[in-house]
Amino acid sequence: MIRLLAKPVSAVWLLLMLATGLSWWLGLDQGMSSDQQSDYRYISSGLIIIAFIKVRIVIRYFMEVREAPLALKLICDAWLVLVSSAIIYLYCLGPVPVATGG
Amino acid sequence: MNTQAQLFCAWCGVGFLVLFSIGWWFIAGYIPPMSPALSAVEVAGFYQENTGLIRLGMVITMFSAALSAPWVAAIAVQLRRIEGEFPALTYALLVAGAVGVVVLVVPPMVWTTAAFRPERDAELIMLLNDFAWLFFVMTFSPFFIQNLVIGLAVFSDKSESPIFPRWVAYFNIWVAILLIPGGLITFFKTGPFAWDGILAFWLPFAVFFGWFVVMFPLLLKAIKQQAALARVE
């Protein structure tokens, strides 16, 4: 069992669990006052970035793309970059959340 | 060997794509699709302004639809080679393909009915327009089965030199699944699942057209491979 946990896949798995915990905590209402609402924009962008970092780890280590030919690596990374940047761009384009919204 | 006949049938698929695009898209102007949220007067206006073009476009569209029959037959011949003596999936493909022709033929006839007397009550024009669009976009089931059985048949190909490469099976099943969102258009007048929406219209149609583009060279290759084998024997 110790041998299993020493594998890189297990290390990144621990990282993924921690990142999920962080997202969970960030996503909870932190009792923010209305003037802090604009910070949500940074938090939410952070949440999206965390999610896509997690996705890249899953692709690289769990799906073993890190051992795959360059073409597959590039296709996966292109997907990651395109989808994540489109999401963040469209998210930031939207109007600032109103105070009652949270 | 009837290589010539098979090649003719395969090329009918290209004919379908080209004529369908000309009639439905460029002449009648149904792309981009009109919004289902339009009022009856606006819908009737479309038919009153484009009466001649819609009538002409629908003749071509209606004709092109039948060209998908030989195309499906050409694929069926190759599936038959995979399946051998009891070709259940091949028969399923043929039946689904035949129903597919009906699904592609009826909407142009309804659209052209709307353009037949454009001076009709706007509400009636809208009824016909709704009927044609719902029939056209929502009826994914025969095409779903068509792609599914192709996928299953290619999966079942255990020979040393398969007639289609195995990824074609995954591709066809993926296409089959992507056609499903069309079934949701009955619930929505706006948004991505309406009949002009990105997920219910643009995605399935792009994928369906892409399917022809991917399958055509593979089909030609399979037919030529068959011809080469026949020469050896």
């Binding site: 993924l16 939410s44 949440l47 051992e67 997907w79 989808v83 489109a86 959340p97 | 195995r166 990824w167």
Partner: protein
């Protein structure tokens, strides 16, 4: 995958040669699915931007804990599968026949939480037609749930292969032949994709403010 035949399962653990995990065809499906879900994500954020208030209000009724617990379930499940695949490359397969069922148990946990969540929402009168947010919520999570169900079937298949491989350890030199390994990697890659899609769905639906 003909190049895979020239080295045995054992050697591969040492010599890491670039290879597509599993069948090439599976990647057509996986990348195709990722493309579609990528489109889903973008469509969701775009329409959200048009009516942020409605989306925020509706999102507030979702229980973030369900979403987070489900993320943990799928991550744990993916780890079990990754470890099982790794184990199957050994000469003697020991852990895989245990780890695949554990992965399925996590998948089952995901399903139970999802059903509890749906029940809560539906009994509160919230359905697919309530508003746009819930339309996306039900369609996206529903489609993802469908992927989970298919994945459970895939895991059953992998489990059977693993049990078979475990019994064959004495008979064959390398426990799992290359052809089987390709199937195992294909199924595992699909299951990891199910995990990956939820990793993005979770913040988009539950957390984005």
């Amino acid at each position: 995958m003909t190049s895979a035949d020239c080295f045995s399962a054992v050697e591969r653990k040492v010599e890491i040669k670039p290879h597509v995990p599993g069948e090439v065809g599976v990647w057509v499906f996986i990348l195709g699915d990722m493309l579609i879900f990528g489109l889903f994500f973008i469509v969701f954020v775009y329409y959200r931007g048009l009516n942020v208030e409605l989306y925020s209000h509706s999102q507030a009724t979702l229980n973030q804990n369900y979403g987070a617990i489900n993320t943990l379930f799928l991550l744990a499940s993916s780890w079990f599968v990754a470890m099982a695949v790794d184990d199957m490359r050994n000469k003697t397969v020991k852990l895989a026949p245990v780890f695949f069922p554990l992965a399925m148990l996590c998948g089952l946990g995901f399903g139970v939480v999802k059903i509890i969540e749906y029940r809560e929402k539906i009994s509160a009168g919230i359905t697919i037609t309530s508003n746009d947010f819930y339309m996306y919520y039900y369609i996206f999570t529903g489609l993802h749930f469908l992927h989970v169900l298919i994945g459970m079937g895939v895991l059953v298949f992998l489990w059977r292969r693993a049990r078979f491989a475990a019994t064959q350890a004495d008979v064959r030199d390398g426990a799992v032949i290359e052809k089987d390994m390709v199937l195992i990697e294909s199924g595992a890659s699909y299951w990891h994709m199910v995990d990956l899609l939820w990793i993005v769905l979770f913040p988009l639906l539950y957390l984005l403010k």
